[in-house]
């Protein structure tokens, strides 16, 4: 299986030019909680095959924006579209069914089930004994799981029975394998490396790239700018409820990003 470096996918995405329709479009989304306006008109496009990093200080509105995309919150005004269709009235579950997957920090895996059972949970392939008695096709699950884990190059021990004993990074791998297999259109990774060892961070970055290579649009939220510059194709900086800066990862530096995150204007930074 080929591992795609991020340049490849970006080139693919850019070379498709205007024909590459965004999978997710966010237009002028506003949200207030009581007197506090948390989102003050957010505009953003997400293209299939890209990793778009969302950075910003605590309270900038990243989490609130994410919760609008995943259907948890409803915008006061503005619109979010998936493949050109409005997602305004959808429940979180309906949003998921339409292909928006969130990889949570706490990872939503059932510890007592096997890796394969977790990937296929809720969508098990079935067979019938003598054409009558239905049963879960464990062999198909095993084979698919093995090739998926191989594809994202996760070194999950083949003998591991349940996910209970997997490390944080390996658990991410399972969640991401699930998103790849079910062909998620948009995957939100909310601080996926927050609780991981250094070695495992590298793996998660690899998984995010693999996910983008599989054709999903990935929104990656993080605090570690070194990691962000490594994983992202584009970076959106949020400050006080709006996106103040949108750039490709190659055209920016940590210093610039920190300035935008702390409220410097374009002029001040150019000077």
């Amino acid at each position: 299986m080929v591992f795609y470096p991020k340049e490849t996918t970006l080139i693919v995405a850019l070379s498709m030019g205007p024909s590459m329709k965004p999978v997710l479009t966010i237009r002028n989304v506003r949200k207030s909680f009581g007197p506090v306006e948390v989102l003050r008109g957010v505009d953003l496009d997400l293209v299939p095959g890209e990793v778009l990093a969302l950075v910003g200080d605590n309270g900038a509105g990243k989490t609130t924006l994410i919760k609008h995309i995943s259907g948890v919150y409803r915008a006061d005004s503005g619109e979010i579209q998936l493949d050109g269709k409005s997602m305004d009235l959808l429940s979180p579950r309906q949003v998921r069914e339409r292909g928006v997957e969130t990889v949570y920090q706490d990872l939503a895996l059932a510890d007592d089930l096997t890796v394969g059972a977790n990937i296929f949970l809720g969508r098990e392939p079935m067979r019938r004994l003598f054409g009558v008695l239905p049963y879960i096709d464990e062999r198909a699950i095993r084979n698919e799981t093995a090739s998926l884990l191989d594809r994202i190059k996760s070194h999950i021990p083949a003998k591991s029975k349940t996910v209970a004993r997997l490390s944080g990074g390996q658990r991410q791998a399972v969640a991401i394998a699930r998103a790849i297999y079910w062909k998620a259109k948009v995957v939100i990774m909310d601080e996926p490396t927050a609780a991981l060892a250094v070695m495992e961070r590298e793996n998660v970055i690899k998984y995010a790239r693999e996910l983008a290579a599989s054709g999903a649009g990935v929104i990656y939220i993080g605090h570690n700018l070194v990691e962000i510059l490594e994983v992202a194709d584009r970076i959106a900086v949020m400050f006080r409820g709006t996106i103040v800066h949108l750039t490709t990862a190659g055209e920016t530096t940590q210093e610039k990003l920190i300035k935008y995150m702390t409220g410097y204007t374009d002029k001040e930074i150019a000077a």
Partner: protein, 320 residues
């Protein structure tokens, strides 16, 4: 072999290994010390005994797997036993009496599931209330008296054998095979384990959590009802005080057989093996003339030990 390897080896053994090994050792010891143990009469008596507690344990197992519990099964067995006896003694036929009684059991399970899944009351509380309520109903329906005058076919069923195996035991085997199939080979089973393991994860994957909760509690009450009917067949009467404390034995059997009270783990084979272990302990105590009160003490200590080990394993898993 160092400790880690040994630990890994124990991890790979099926969970039922301990209870099966322990039971076999107990059989060997009893064969050596109690001359009446390995006799056809005693074995077939034990097979009849274990069937009823085994069926109840299989039902309770389903609630333990979803990280619930069912403390009402003993009372439900008594209540439904009294109902079936009343119906039979009033001249309703066996199919109607048994059918209506099973229906009552399903209703009880639905009420438990509604309390747990819809009202959000802890399963422990809902079914503890049930333990009291259904024992009360059993006493009310029977007027506090034993119910007799049952048709002879009822008695015949539990005395009968098929290919030398008591009918009661065959019934338990059929129940065990069906529930084992359900738990190990179907989506329903997979979802029960998923809910017990991480109900939030299950919900996010679109699993109908309430429907699964309903299935678990209906299975538990339904099988307790079946056990109650079989108990009436075995005793040829129904007593409102029968099946007393059966819930504890059933829970203990499931847990000794590898089920975790934290949910997500447990097997039919383990629950049945656990029921066989407790039946053997009771039988051995009688044969060896051990004071039956000691048997209660030993059972209680065994339950405490097993739950402690379960707790320990859970802690180790979460890296504490």
């Amino acid at each position: 072999m160092n400790n880690d390897n040994l630990g890994a080896l124990f991890q790979r053994l099926p969970v039922e290994t301990y209870v099966v090994t322990f039971t076999v050792i107990l059989w060997i010891m009893l064969s050596a010390t109690a001359p009446n143990f390995m006799t056809v009469d005693n074995i077939s008596n034990m097979m009849r005994q274990v069937s009823i507690s085994g069926i109840i344990a299989i039902g309770v197992l389903c609630t333990i797997i979803i990280a619930g519990i069912d403390l009402s099964v003993g009372s439900v067995a008594a209540f439904c036993g009294v109902i079936v006896a009343q119906l039979l003694s009033h001249g309703y036929g066996i199919p109607i009496s048994v059918g209506l009684t099973l229906l009552a059991g399903v209703l009880v399970g639905s009420i438990n599931a509604a309390g747990v899944g819809k009202l959000g009351i802890p399963a422990f509380v809902v079914t503890l209330a049930g333990l009291q309520v259904y024992r009360g109903f059993a006493l009310l329906v029977s007027g506090g008296m034993t119910v007799g005058g049952l048709p002879p076919q009822i008695k015949d069923f539990s005395r009968g054998t098929l290919l030398g195996i008591p009918n009661l035991f065959t019934t338990m085997l059929v129940v065990a095979i069906i529930v084992h199939y359900l738990l190990s080979y179907t989506r329903t089973g997979r979802y029960l384990y998923a809910i017990g393991s991480n109900s939030e994860a299950a919900r996010r994957q679109g699993i109908p959590v309430f429907r699964m909760t309903l299935i678990a509690y209906v299975l538990s009450s339904g099988l307790a009802t079946l056990a109650g009917i079989l108990l009436v067949s075995r005793l040829s009467i129904a007593s409102p005080s029968m099946a007393n404390a059966y819930e504890l034995q059933a829970i203990a059997a499931a847990v000794v057989g590898g089920a975790s009270l934290f949910g997500g783990r447990g097997t039919v084979l383990g629950a049945v093996a656990g029921a066989i272990l407790f039946t053997t302990m009771g039988n051995g105590a009688v044969l060896l003339n051990i004071d039956p009160f000691w048997e209660m003490v030993l059972e209680g200590l065994l339950i405490a030990l097993v739950v402690y080990l379960d707790n320990l394993q859970k802690k180790r898993q979460s890296g504490l």
